[in-house]
């Protein structure tokens, strides 16, 4: 207690965050020797930064941007190019220079954010989406045609350096900045723009300044993530920043619940890990079983939605209905699948988990969006009060 008084909770939380990242870094590199897993963790951290920063533009300020991979790419190339050009001529050692490089990547992406943000201010919704999409593609195609930057062969960043600690520190800073904004009254002006631009402006919110800030800050974090990525892999190539990456980040934001930082973090991890699970977990499934299970998932979604919309019983009964809505269709599906499998009704083709990676990803997206159209977390955020309320539900009821 006295310690928190001397240093202030803020300083302590910063120290804890840094320590946690460093420990995670050391733990990973000593316990997990497999470079594949370390890279997975690293990329998951980068995607957290990307989705939380896009959430600032898309979810909090309500500006529909689908060119986030463009900012990510600007950061990666700016950091990579400057690192190759200046690293040998300056006195800093690598981890320290990596921070400089992150700042360069963030700065370059922020400028790009300003360039896209300013003219796009008059555009809304679909039109803004088209412009940002165009920006992402233009950046990629211009780079593709720069021979000095390696063109389609890609670009080698000679000062390769992997730092899980910095990746997660960046993610934490990004989350903290967005959370701070929402905790202060300033954040309300961003949310007001999302809710109603005309009313926000009539209440004195400066639309231009606020929207451009969202674009610049969001882009800067994406650029910083790009800088880390470039130094981690040591090789960047325009194909790594295609439209699909933008869409993946956007999907993370939407799946988590637009505006919810918690949702963005959670969805980034989930969506990034799911396709990789197909590589890690080994399982095989017959064609018959696959068809039966897919139909079962459909039935499950139907049953869950029916319970949500048409069942008004007491809470325990409703929970039971939800449980049955999941267990019955999946159980029946599994049984039917076994029967089809045994009698080889649908042929004996076998699918490996690796073949089904993106089928499963698509399925998860479909199921979540059908069951929870506002995303996993809706507009809600993680808070300790919420955790407490989970445990204290009964107590609260007695009081009420």
């Amino acid at each position: 207690m006295s310690l928190s008084k001397i240093l202030g909770t803020r300083v302590i939380s910063i120290i804890v965050a840094v320590a946690a990242c460093v420990i995670l870094d050391m733990a990973l590199s000593s316990v997990i020797k497999d470079a594949y897993y370390i890279r997975l963790v690293m990329l998951a951290g980068i995607y957290v930064t990307l989705s939380v920063s896009l959430n600032l533009i898309n979810g909090i300020t309500g500006q529909f941007s689908i060119g986030h991979a463009g900012f990510y790419m600007v950061g990666a190339y700016a950091a990579g190019l400057s690192s190759n050009a200046f690293f040998d001529k300056q006195p800093l050692a690598m981890p320290a220079y990596l921070i400089v490089s992150i700042l360069i990547g963030a700065g370059a992406a922020a400028v790009a954010g300003l360039i896209v943000g300013l003219p796009s201010l008059r555009l809304k919704g679909d039109y803004l989406a088209v412009v940002t999409l165009g920006f992402g593609e233009i950046i990629r195609i211009v780079t593709l045609n720069q021979e000095a930057w390696g063109g389609s062969y890609g670009y080698n960043v000679t000062n390769k350096y992997q730092s899980i600690a910095l990746v997660f520190l960046l993610a934490i800073v990004c989350i903290a900045v967005c959370r701070n904004l929402l905790k202060s009254v300033h954040g309300l002006s961003f949310l007001a723009i999302r809710e109603d631009e005309v009313a926000a402006q009539a209440m004195g919110v400066n639309l231009t300044r606020t929207k451009v800030t969202a674009f610049v800050v969001g882009a800067a974090f994406a650029g910083a993530a790009g800088a880390l990525f470039a130094h981690d892999s040591g090789f960047i190539n325009p194909d790594l920043f295609k439209m699909e990456v933008s869409f993946l980040i956007l999907t993370m934001v939407v799946l988590g619940g637009t505006g919810s930082i918690t949702g963005s973090v959670f969805a980034a991890m989930t969506l990034f890990i799911i396709p990789e699970m197909g590589r890690i977990i080994k399982f095989e499934v017959s064609q018959g079983m696959l068809v039966a299970l897919l139909l079962a998932v459909g039935a499950m979604v139907w049953a869950i939605r029916r319970t949500t919309n048409h069942f008004h019983g007491a809470k325990p009964q409703k929970s039971l209905r939800y449980l049955l809505s999941v267990l019955v269709p999946i159980g029946v599906g599994f049984g039917v699948g076994k029967v089809i499998e045994t009698y080889t009704i649908l042929g004996d083709k076998i699918y490996k988990a690796n073949d089904l990676r993106f089928v499963i990803l698509a399925l998860v997206l479909l199921v979540v969006m059908l069951i929870r159209p506002s995303g996993l977390f809706g507009h809600h955020e993680f808070s300790w009060d919420w955790v407490k309320s989970l445990f204290n539900r009964r107590a609260v009821k007695v009081e009420a």
Partner: protein, 254 residues
């Protein structure tokens, strides 16, 4: 000196003259009514005063300076705030947060301190929350502070819009059909609120309203528009007996 002067304000949309050479002065402390049949150009007048539209010709003078053509956020800053005919609340935000957006106009800490959540930003946020709470209780919505704006009843949403506009600390407040869709009891309550805004908070009020009884009981000065032109001006008694007004708008004596 007049708080707001409309000087021969005209706006044309293509061939249509929506508002034609409208001229009136609002003095400090006035409770001014702007009435007229549908399509008379009342809301267009509001939109010109608040910077949504720029007049084709003429001037809107506020506090001695020409504000025609200024962007809406600047106009809110100089001290004019409004409510909307078709309610425009920030639906997903709570009632309290809605009012805090209004209070945000007078912020002093920088945006950077918001991103860093500096102690000053925390303090300012707390102050604004407190101030927003006070305005919520003025319109009798303190108990609904944490309800989502979209979940409030129609009458409450209208009052919440007034609280939000009040929170920007304007000198002149424009109410666009504040009583629309309210039942008689809600209208009485609204009347009290508007009078309090004028008397206790010393604001000047300009309001558009269709409910004649409400306007006649509340406003001290009234200007009547028809087809974008002023057809009458004066106190409620004069307006009530003005043959032009009766013909154009009322249809019969009120």
């Amino acid at each position: 000196m007049a708080v707001l002067s409309m000087e021969q304000v005209t706006i044309k949309f293509g061939g249509l003259t929506a508002v034609n050479e409208v001229t009136f002065d609002i003095e400090k402390g006035d409770l001014y009514g702007l009435i007229g049949p549908n399509g008379a150009g009342k809301t267009t007048c509001f939109n010109m005063i608040t910077g949504v539209y720029t007049p084709t010709s003429g001037k809107v003078i506020y506090d001695g300076r020409d504000i025609s053509g200024m962007p809406p956020n600047k106009i809110a800053e100089v001290g004019i705030c409004r409510t909307f005919q078709n309610i425009r609340l920030f639906s997903a935000l709570s009632a309290l947060e809605n009012v805090m957006v209004g209070a945000y106009l007078r912020h002093e800490t920088s945006l950077l301190s918001g991103f860093l959540l500096s102690p000053r930003a925390i303090k300012e946020t707390a102050e604004m929350r407190k101030r927003a709470m006070e305005f919520l209780s003025v319109v009798d919505l303190a108990e609904e502070a944490h309800s989502r704006a979209a979940d409030l009843s129609y009458g409450k949403q209208r009052r919440l819009e007034i609280a939000r506009a009040m929170a920007t600390n304007p000198k002149l407040i424009l109410l666009d059909e504040p009583a629309a869709g309210m039942n008689p009891q809600e209208k009485d309550e609204l009347r009290e609120v508007v009078l309090r805004i004028r008397d206790e908070f010393e604001k000047t009020v300009l309001l558009i309203e269709h409910d004649m009884k409400f306007v006649m009981n509340l406003c001290e000065k009234i200007v009547v528009l028809d087809h974008g032109e002023e057809i009458a001006r004066g106190g409620p008694a004069e307006i009530r007996s003005n043959p032009k007004v009766i013909e154009a708008y009322l249809g019969e004596a009120v």
